[in-house]
Every structure is written in C-alpha cells, then in structure tokens.
C-alpha cells in the first residue's frame, strides 16, 4: 500500500465455524483503492461481496489478512476503535437505506457529526439536504418519504462528515430504474465534488462500468486480472 492508497486490502480471508465444519466465504483477496477513485465489487450472489465490503469498512474482523484505511491498520483495532474510525473516515449507503425511523430527515443526516461532538451539524445537514433536493422535506420522517427520497437522505448522511471513502452496498437495489439513475448521478456528483473514494457492491454491471476499478469475486476468490 502506498501513500496514494486510501484502502489497502491484503490476503483477506474470512471463515465461519458451522456445525458442518469451517466455511470459508472469502479467500486471500488483495487489492488497493486510490484516493478519490471509484471501485466496484461485483459477482454472483454468495460470492462474498457483502462480506468483503463489511471487512473493508471495519464492520467485521477478518480471519486472516489485513485491511488498511488511510494508513490505519483496521484489523488491529478493537470494536470501539473501529467505530471511531468509521465516524471520522467513512460514509455508508445501503440498499435498504438504513435510516433511523424515529428521526426526521434532518436529524438522520446530523447523527454522524453529533456523534463526534462537532458544531454546526444542523446547518450542514440542511445544506446537504438542499443539495440532494430535499430542502422542503427537512422535518419529514422516513416513513413519509419515498424510497428514492430516503436514499437521498442516506446520501446526505453519508457525506456530512466529509468522508475519505464511501462504501455503498447495492445503493439502487431497492429502487426503480428511473430513480436509480438519479441516485447514481447524485452519488457520483457528490463523490467527485468532495474528492471521496467510492467502493460499491453491485450486481449492476452498467453501474460497475462507471467506476475506475472492478473487483470480481466468485466463490470467495478474486477472479478478475490483477
């Protein structure tokens, strides 16, 4: 991993103990993502895409191998250390939006900044929601928003802490094609504007083709040429 890398993954392996013995879902995957660049992880269902994303984002611990985010060895941090790292460096967008149902759009967006005790969370949340076209829906609850609107709130939340890298898990998986197009445009626009690297998991090869780098997985192994 060099200074240009924001994410460095080396020989990453993940296994689970099951009643039928040990199950390896990811085997010795290695790749780098450079700062401000975009990367897609593709592969059939069960190939280990989501597992890889979770490990890269510090949501889980690898069985073997290393993950470095902005030069920090994620695999050696404890859960609270990884949580701090996620809060400072990362942004997330999920297929099912994962908004907090009891919080308004504005409050959902504010959470990452409030967590680290930064001032001006409200002002920045309003600014971002206006940017994603939801300036008039600030105090609406998720249940009062459409799927596309919810994903736009999730995008605003993902960018509020000015992340260095954004992880997106099937960001358009729950949306119709028209809305998907708008969300993808917004995602890439925000990404470019803030210089954030993007790692996204998708089945959509058209979307994958829009990224700078494609990692293809099959049976837990990387099968694309290095």
């Amino acid at each position: 991993m060099n200074d240009e890398s924001i994410l460095g993954v080396n020989a990453l392996t993940k296994s689970y103990s099951t009643s039928g013995g040990e199950l390896t879902v990811l085997r010795e995957v290695t790749f780098d993502v450079r700062r401000g660049r975009t990367c897609a992880i593709v592969g059939p269902s069960g190939s280990g895409k989501t597992t890889l994303l979770g490990l890269c984002a510090g949501l889980d611990q690898p069985t073997q191998g290393t993950v470095h985010l902005d030069g920090i060895a994620v695999h050696s941090l404890n859960e609270d250390g990884r949580a701090r790292l996620r809060n400072k460096l990362l942004g997330f967008v999920f297929q099912n939006f994962q908004l907090l149902t009891t919080l308004t759009a504005r409050e959902n967006v504010m959470v990452p900044l409030e967590l680290c005790g930064e001032k001006g969370a409200d002002h920045r949340a309003v600014e971002l929601l206006q940017r994603v076209g939801l300036g008039d829906r600030l105090d609406h609850y998720p249940i009062q928003l459409s799927g596309g609107e919810q994903q736009r709130v999730a995008l605003a939340r993902a960018f509020i802490n000015r992340p260095k890298i954004l992880f997106a898990d099937e960001p358009t998986g729950n949306l119709d094609s028209e809305t998907s197009g708008k969300i993808i445009d917004l995602l890439f626009d925000l990404n470019r504007a803030s210089g954030t690297a993007l790692v996204l998991v998708t089945h959509n090869l058209e979307l994958a083709a829009m990224t700078d780098q494609i990692i293809t997985l099959r049976g837990g192994r990387r099968v694309d040429p290095l």
Binding site: T50, L59, N87, F94, L100, E114, L115, G117, D169
Partner: protein, 840 residues
C-alpha cells in the same frame, strides 16, 4: 457512564414512536412505588405519633399488674414505689341490659380516681369520663350500646349491681379498638365492684396500679433496680419505654407486612418493565446497528436506552410518588383499628423520596436486563440481520443478576425484624418466581411438542402462540400466577381460621359455654338447661394453679437461666386451669403412659398434654410441683395425651385423677347447645337473672366477633393485595399490547388468506385461556402449599382447604385473562387489514 446532551437527545428522539407504550410500561411500577411511598410515609407518621403520644399510651408513668389479689407484701412494695397512684380491677362477666333484656359477656373494669394520668377517655357526652366515678355510673363501649340499642341513661346490670349508663366509650388511651369487639369494656367506679358480688377467690381477675411521678423523675432508672423483687411476687412492671418498645415491635410487624406486600408489587412491576423493554429494544436492534455503523461506540448506544429506562423509572417514580401521597390519606383509616394511636397525616418527604428512589432503582435494574445485550449488537447487522446480537453469556448480565439478588435480599432484611424472616421472604419469592418460570418453560416445551397435524387449525395456532418467538408466556405466567398465589393464600388462611377453628352449629357440637359456675350451683344450672330441652354436653371442674417447680428446680431459679436453655417464660409463669376426671374425653387421645389413677407416696400422678410437656422438657416420671392458691401439690407425669384444641370443648393442659383436687377452690364449666337463637337468648336471660356470677360465651357471637376482627385484618391484607393484583393487571395489559403488533401482522395475513374473524377470535381465546389456566393452576398449587404451611406451622392447625375456592379462583383468572386479552386485541379483528397496515 457519562450521559452527555446527545445521549439524552437521541433517547428522546428514539422514543418518538413508542412514547405511549413506554408510558404504559412505566405504569407497571407505579402501583408498587405508590404502595411503598404510602407505607414508608405511614411508618414515619407512626413514629411521630408514638413519640408524641408516648405517655398517653400507658396513661401513667408506671403500671404494676398482678393476676391475683395483691398480697400484703405486694401492697407494701407498691406503697414503696411512691408517686400518685390509681387502681383498676378487671374481670370478665355477664352484663344485662334490662330494657332490651340483652345479655353479653363483657370486661368489667373498676377504676379509682386519677386514671388516666395522661390522655383522656373519649366519650359521649364528653365529660362522661369524669362524672361516672362520682355519680356513680357506667361507661359502656360503643359497640355494646349499638348491639343492644341502648342509650345514655339506660340501666346496666352487672352481677347484683344496677347502674345507669352515663356515657358511651369511644376511645381509651393506649388501647386499640379492634380488639375490644371480643369482650367489650364497661367501666365503673372501683368502689362499686364489691356490690356486684362477682369477684371470688377463684375468679380470673387482673389488678393494676397506675402511678404518676413528678415530671423530672427518671422512671426508667428508678424501675430498673426494682424489677427483680417484683418479678418474684409475679408482679409485672411496665414503663412508658416498655410500652413504646412493644408498640414499636407491633408497628414494625404491621409495617413489615405492608412493605413486603408493596415490594412484591414493585418486583412484579419490575418484571413487567423488563419484559416490555425487552420487546422495545428488540425492535430497536436495526437502529442500534445503524448507529454503530455510523461510529457510535457500544457504550454510547447502550446509554441511549439506559437513559430511556431511567426516564421511565423517573416517570414511574413521580407518578407512584403522587399516587402514594394520595393513598396515604386513606391508609391510616385502613390500619387505625389496629393501633392505639391517633395518626396525624403529614407528608414525610424523606420517606416519600426514599421509596421513590427504591422504585426508580428497581425499575432501572430490571430495565437493564434486556438493555445490556444491546452492547453486543454488531454493526454488521446493517448488512446481514442474522448477525445482530451475539448469544454468548455476558458477564455483566450475571453481575446485574447478582446486584438484583443482593438488592432484594437487602430490602427484605431491612424490612424484617429478624434476619431469617428476611431470608425466608427472599427464598419464598425466588421459589414462587422460579416455580412459575419453570412451569412456563414446561408449558412452552409442551406446546411445541404436543401439537400434531390432526388437531383443528385454530387449536394448533392457539397452542403455537405459546411457544413461538416473542411469546408472552413467561411474563403472563409470572404476573398472573403470582397474583393468584398471593390472593388465594390469604383467602385460604382466613377461611381456615374462621371455619375450621370455630366449627359452630353443626350436629351435637356445643354453641354455648357456661363458666364460673360455683359447685353448689351445678345442679340448679343443669335443671335450668334441662327445662329448656338443652342437653349438658360436657361438664368439667376447673382449679386455677401455677407451677412452683419443675423436676425439683424452683421456677424463680429456672427464670434466671440463659434464654436459650430456658423453658419459655409464658409456660413457667402462666396460670394453669386444670381439672380432675378418670378417663379421656372425645377430644383427647392417649400418647404414652398409664392414665393417672391413684396417689403414689406423696406425689399425685397427672396426665399432661404432649405439647406443654415438650415446652417444659418433661416426660413420664418427671416431677412437677403446683401452687394451688397457696397450697403446694407435688405431682409426677404419669401419662401424656394429645388434645384436639380445635374441638369446641373444655380442654386442659393438666388433668388430675379424681379424689385429689376436690377440696381446692374450683368453678365449673358446662357446654350446651341451643337449637334456636330465641331459645339461647331466653336461657341466657334466665341464667343472668338467677345466677349473675355465671358467665356465658355465645359461640355464634364469638364467631361473629372473630369474623369482624378477621375482616378488619383482611381489609389491610386486601388493601395490599389490590396493589399486587392491580400491578398484575397492568403487566397483563402491557404484555398483550407489546405483542399486539405481531398478532396484528399475523391476523392480517390469516384474514388475507381467508380466515374468518371468528377463527381469529378462537385462536386468541385459546391462547389466553391456556395462559390463564396454566398461570392460575400454578398459582393455586403454590397457594395451597403456602397456606397449608402457614396454617400447619404458624397456627398449628390441620389444613382443610375449601374445595370450591381454587376452582372459582381459576375460573375468575381465566375469564379476566381472556376478557382483557380480547379487549386489548379487539382492533386486530375488527379493522380492515389495509387500515391496520397503514395505521401501524
């Protein structure tokens, strides 16, 4: 754990969709806290009342009591005590109200001038407490006046004396009014007592001397040095401090009982809170995972829900505190009859805040049980729901259980007068909770295994509701079972005491006891009864005596032995009423030895009741020496027998053979039976008119008066039980409501698939019936065990539970559970599926 502004803000935001539910959860602990607040506050008010009314409790600085006429030596010693003195002689005898011709056994008290030195009689008219001694006249207790419809100015006949009633007695300093209903009191001037001609040498009278000292006298110090010589003469000395200690003890017992009842309600509420929070936080797992993903630490996410638990506890404590203060207005009325004090109502803020604090802590501790696992929610759950919570045992949870156990034990020990009572209470709670939880687990397991495809669909669904995820089986078993257990236990104990102890009016059982019959009156009284077709069921002579020595050791020496080695005081100092006869009677059974027949050497063989023999630590052949009004009688134990004390017959600890006691001063007891109340009243009237010295106990009336006393006790018990039952009902409602969403989803699905409302209704009815049935059945089994143990070990009576009560209880609990369940689920069945989906 530091709760910053964001934590509180998130707790508030997170609660938005569930505030109504959270409010309902907090209601579970409201009644428990209210009970504790009102009881601890009452305790504080009682302490104040005891301190303020200390002297009027005794109405004097010192009281000397004797159960026999004061000897010359006793008189000299009492003279030596100095101070201003007043005297009272009291005994039981019959009173006749000539106007209504009513008769009743009363306690006659003859008073000299001066009493009470502190406090005052409360009478109508108000000056009657002063004038009855001068007129002379009688002060008659209110209950007695009401019974015979008497009014001031009417005459009352006591033995051969007729006096006008000059006042109605409403309150006597230092005496609780509830106990007066058994033998209502009649005060007359001491100078009039001889005119009644009721006191004879063998009469069971009590003699008291009340003494007042100048204000600066240190009575306690003064009495300390004099207790021993007075004790030797069987004279009891009682100071204000002694009375305060005794009263403090009985107040403690009352308060302990009420507090522990309140505590059970609070614990039950705590279980309700834990269960409701469990459902609440389970719904919040996805939110926790999102927060963890966004960078919140495990502690931060935990703090959000702990803050909610604390807010819930605070809300419950505030509501409980307010309700408790309101209840405190009524609580003194509930217990006023048991205490000899005028309880002034005031809010004891320290006690109120203390009880609220205890309630708050209990609520938070119980809420922590389901909240703690949130620490282990993985952020990975945002990607895969199956990885939400780690199922490994959390050491912190064990620590929490330990703290809860210590807290419960600590509270029980604090509230109990003896440490082993506290431990027994904790043990009892654990056994009850444990057994109910075990039955719940068995029921869940049985429901899982029992269902077969051959069952009708609604039965399969109803059973399945008991074991599937998020079932309410354990919680409802605990709340309903515990409520059933406590309420039925109280009823069964009350029933046994009332019905089994006093089996009046069946077959040839006596319902009237005549006593104080002189030897020369026996044949006349028997004739009087015979003329009225009333059979003499039993006749026994009675000689009053005291123990002088046991196995050659004098009583005074035995009394000096250390407590743990000594025969109980009451046995050594009690007055034995013994009889003579040559055979066992129906209520007795031979245990060991030969029935006493003839005198061997200078010692009389006697038959001893096995219980008293055990207390005295004597067996066959051991010597006992009795003092029969100054005459010493040597005896030895020749026979031990078992006595059925429950039988309404003259029963005795000591039975002498014939031709041994006939020369001693004796009175006789006759038991008989009147077939109608009118015949009984006519006989009583004739008896009192012709033989005023003979007293009579109407067992039907005793049954009524015992019922009155037990009913008053039951008011306090039911008062406490209502908190437990109320809490159980709140827990039931909140448990049903927390499972409502799940029920709604399933009902909608069933109805979408073609199930009729009737089928959905049947499924719910089956589920709630099974829960109510199993919970009440376990509660009934626990109650039978608990009441049986109480009756057998505490009241030393055989336990014969009424057959109907357990079934009626089970039917009521099943019906309540089904009704509450159906009312709370009504919307599930009646609203169209689409509306429900939108509404939720």
């Amino acid at each position: 754990m530091s709760f910053n502004r964001w934590i509180w803000l998130m707790a508030w935001r997170d609660s938005r969709a569930s505030r109504r539910k959270l409010f309902l959860f907090s209601c579970s602990i409201v009644l428990g806290i209210a009970a504790l607040v009102s009881i601890t506050s009452l305790g504080h008010n009682l302490e104040i009342a005891v301190a303020e009314q200390a002297k009027s409790l005794l109405a004097a600085d010192l009281v000397v009591t004797s159960r026999q006429p004061l000897s010359e030596r006793a008189e000299q010693m009492i003279e030596g005590l100095g101070g201003e003195q007043a005297r009272e002689v009291s005994f039981s005898s019959m009173a006749l109200f000539p106007n209504s011709e009513g008769t009743r056994l009363v306690q006659i008290r003859g008073l000299t001038e001066g009493f009470p030195f502190y406090g005052a009689f409360e009478t109508f008219p108000t000056n009657a407490g002063e004038i009855f001694r001068n007129l002379p006249g009688a002060l008659v207790e209110e209950s007695l006046m009401k019974q015979f419809n008497a009014k001031v100015g009417d005459p009352i006949k006591l033995g051969e004396l007729i006096l006008p009633i000059v006042g109605i007695l409403q309150k006597i300093p230092g005496e609780a009014m509830v106990f007066t209903t058994i033998a209502p009191r009649v005060y007359i001037p001491a100078t009039e007592i001889p005119k009644t001609k009721l006191i004879k040498a063998e009469s069971l009278a009590k003699f008291k001397v009340f003494i007042k000292y100048p204000p600066a006298t240190l009575v306690e110090e003064f009495v300390k040095k004099r207790r021993a010589p007075f004790k030797e003469l069987r004279l009891e000395l009682e100071t204000v401090e002694d009375r305060k200690r005794d009263l403090g003890k009985s107040m403690n017992h009352l308060q302990t009982f009420l507090s522990l009842g309140g505590f059970i309600a609070l614990l039950l509420g705590g279980v309700g809170v834990a269960s409701a929070i469990h459902v609440h936080v389970k719904e919040k797992v996805p939110s926790v995972a999102v927060l963890r993903c966004l960078g919140a630490s495990a502690n931060q996410t935990l703090q959000i829900y702990v803050a909610q638990g604390m807010a819930l506890g605070l809300l419950g404590a505030i509501m409980g505190g307010i309700l408790g203060v309101v209840i405190q207005f009524f609580l003194p009325r509930v217990i006023q009859d048991f205490v000899a004090l005028e309880i002034q109502y005031s809010i004891a803020w320290v006690s109120v805040l203390g009880a609220m604090g205890a309630g708050f802590v209990i609520c938070v501790l119980f809420a922590l049980v389901p909240i703690l696992p949130l620490r282990r929610v993985s952020p990975l759950a945002v990607l895969r729901a199956t990885t939400a919570v780690s199922h490994h045992r959390d050491p912190l949870q064990w620590l929490l259980f330990g703290i809860m156990g210590l807290g419960i034990t600590g509270f029980s020990l604090w509230q109990s007068t003896r440490w082993y009572h506290g431990l027994a209470f904790t043990g009892g709670i654990l056994v009850a909770f444990g057994l109910l939880a075990l039955v719940a687990k068995l029921l869940i397991s049985l429901a899982r295994r029992a269902i077969t495809p051959s069952w009708p669909y609604v039965w399969r669904q109803g059973f399945a509701n008991l074991h599937r995820p998020n079932n309410r089986t354990l919680l409802l078993m605990l709340s309903l079972g515990l409520g059933t257990f406590l309420l039925l236990t109280m009823y069964l104990v009350q029933h046994t005491l009332l019905i089994d102890l006093l089996p009046a009016g069946k077959g040839r059982q006596p319902n009237t006891v005549l006593f104080d019959i002189q030897t020369d009156q026996i044949s006349d009284v028997e004739n009087l009864l015979k003329n009225r077709q009333m059979e003499v069921l039993q006749q026994a002579p009675v000689v009053t005596m005291r123990l002088a020595s046991v196995k050659g050791r004098a009583i005074r020496d035995l009394l000096k032995e250390p407590d743990h080695r000594r025969v109980p005081n009451w046995v050594l100092r009690r007055e034995f009423r013994s009889t003579w006869r040559d055979q066992l009677v129906d209520s007795e059974e031979s245990v060991v030895g030969v029935w006493p027949s003839q005198k061997i050497r200078d010692s009389i063989p006697i038959s001893l009741e096995e219980g008293i023999a055990k207390d005295l630590a004597v067996t066959l052949g051991d010597d006992l020496e009795f003092d029969v009004q100054g005459v010493s009688i040597a005896t030895h134990v020749a026979h031990l027998r078992k006595v059925d004390w429950k039988r309404m017959a003259p029963n005795f600890f000591v039975v002498f053979p014939s031709k041994t006691l006939e020369a001693a001063p004796a009175f006789h007891i006759i038991t008989t039976r009147s077939n109608t109340p009118e015949a009984g009243a006519e006989m009583q009237h004739a008896l009192v008119k012709n033989y005023p010295n003979i007293s009579l106990i109407d067992l039907t009336l005793v049954l009524k008066t015992v019922d009155t006393v037990v009913s008053k006790v039951s008011v306090a018990v039911r008062f406490m039980a209502s908190f437990i039952l109320g809490t159980g009902l709140l827990v039931l409602i909140s448990a049903i409501l927390t499972g409502r969403y799940q029920r709604m989803q399933e009902s909608i699905l069933l109805r979408t698939l073609g199930a009729s409302r009737w089928q959905v209704l049947q499924i719910l009815v089956i589920e709630y019936f099974l829960l109510g049935f199993c919970a009440s059945l376990t509660g009934v089994v626990l109650a039978l065990g608990g009441a049986g143990a109480l009756v057998f070990y505490l009241f030393k009576l055989p336990f014969h539970p009424p057959l109907l009560a357990p079934f009626v209880t089970m039917a009521c609990i099943c019906l309540t559970t089904m009704t509450t369940g159906l009312i709370m689920s009504w919307g599930v069945m009646n609203r169209p599926p689409l509306e429900i989906l939108r509404g939720e």
